[in-house]
Subunit: 244 residues, 2 copies
DNA sequence: CGCAGCTTTGAGAATCCTCAACTATTGTGG
DNA sequence: CCACAATAGTTGAGGATTCTCAAAGCTGCG
């Protein structure tokens, strides 16, 4: 039997204590899996959805859209992330959820999540907490954008991405796949495509990272974290002693 | 009888349908009110809290703190906002909640909110939705920081602030009090204090705003919104046809 | 009155953008 | 398998925005 939410449950359990019963209830949820090519909009601004997108493969982004149609990526989601869990509480989107790479997603019906939300207090807390961690990542990124230059922004992104990929079981903190184009990174970092290029070169010239194609290898993680002023606590991945 | 949450309930009802019973349950919550001077930390990074801060007077901010102790403001909260409602789901803070002006806050016990969260499904949705709107504001601000120059950032901030103050019943969209120093605005806008000054001057010279001290008056709201590429939908203040 | 905090202004330097070209890689149809 | 197009990455030069450092005017309060 296929269990669409197994990766998601695994992720939830990094930050929440779930009983066997809670876990089974989540795993019992059925969801349609669909594959989409890069640049596909999973949710468009203005859409009202009745499901949440669970990323199974590939990279998915939340993007803000402005009146002229141009967009800005604000967060990226990796496999195991529920990209718009918040849509359960707010089904009408003011943003886009879009595929940055070819990807596979499960469409998890809101009704299923809401039922669990009512019947299982621990799941309610866990789901709420997950959206709060999402907001925490956004808040941290706001501060990185307002305070840091391009090289520090990139350094911070690499640190965060490494942590999240490792937590997802998809690489190590110093060694992972980052299948984004420089144009996509530019939208995320808030600089131009050209400047992403120069910024990468700077980090490479300093011997801090090494990158063939889209496979990144961090040679000096300590130095990278110092440049980024990275402090992983906002990711809430160490929740030892957390409340139920 | 004093009803600490009355402003908060009024705010919730902009985005949620509450029954009389729900409303009464919220209004029945008791909370300590305390006054704090500007610069007071209501919550420090690392604190574990058992209450949420409801702003009654003044301006309160969420700030990210870096290893060297310096901070960056990521969102501001106005009277009627629950500044760290997310703490109910995640009681250990990785950020600071700090008073930007002299202020008065109610400390609303998590236990009271959690009880309602369990017993009143509509309140559970409403509270969750409120944290999601908070995240929506953060996401929009990320995109403003990555895409816009200083004058557009300031324009966007003024547009958003005007909307939120008007929704709080504390002014009109073109006419409100902004009791922040230029240094505080600089931390929020991600530019230096000096540059805030020049940016304000630019908007004033163009005849778009008028500002004596800290009372802002917007002379040409249309132009300001065009500069900011402002689209109020992300604030979710128009929820006609919204789900319960 | 005098201090402390806030605002305003100036000048030179750093970061990043724009425009423009050129190379490398990937994909497609003949 | 090649020719060609499309996408992605790289490099250069000049210009715009913003920063840094520095100093001078304001405002409010004890």
């Amino acid at each position: 039997m296929v269990r669409p939410l197994s990766r998601f449950v695994q992720r939830l359990e990094l930050r929440n204590i779930l009983s066997d019963e809670d876990r089974d209830a989540l795993l019992a949820i059925d969801a349609n899996r669909s594959q989409k090519p890069a640049r596909w909009d999973l949710v468009r601004p203005g859409d009202e959805v009745d499901y949440a997108c669970l990323v199974d493969q590939g990279i998915v982004a939340r993007a803000e859209q402005f009146a002229d149609g141009r967009r800005n990526t604000t967060v990226i989601y990796v496999p195991g992330d529920m990209a718009d869990l918040h849509s359960v509480a707010l089904p009408r989107a003011a943003w886009a959820i879009t595929a940055l790479t070819d990807c596979a997603v499960y469409k998890v019906p809101h009704v299923s999540l809401k039922r669990l939300f009512r019947d299982h207090p621990a799941i309610a807390t866990a789901l709420w907490r997950d959206t709060v961690v999402d907001a925490s990542i956004l808040s941290k990124w706001v501060s990185v954008l307002s305070r840091h230059t391009a090289d520090r922004r990139l350094a911070h992104l690499l640190c965060e991405y490494g942590y999240r990929m490792a937590a997802a079981g998809l690489g190590r903190r110093e060694d992972f796949d980052l299948p984004l184009t420089q144009a996509q990174l530019a939208e995320l970092l808030g600089v131009t495509e050209v400047h992403v290029q120069r910024t990468f070169r700077t980090l490479r010239d300093k011997g801090i990272i090494e990158g063939e194609r889209r496979t990144i290898r961090i040679l000096d993680l300590g130095k990278l974290e110092r440049i980024a002023e990275f402090d992983a606590r906002y990711l809430m991945l160490d929740m030892s002693g957390h409340h139920p």
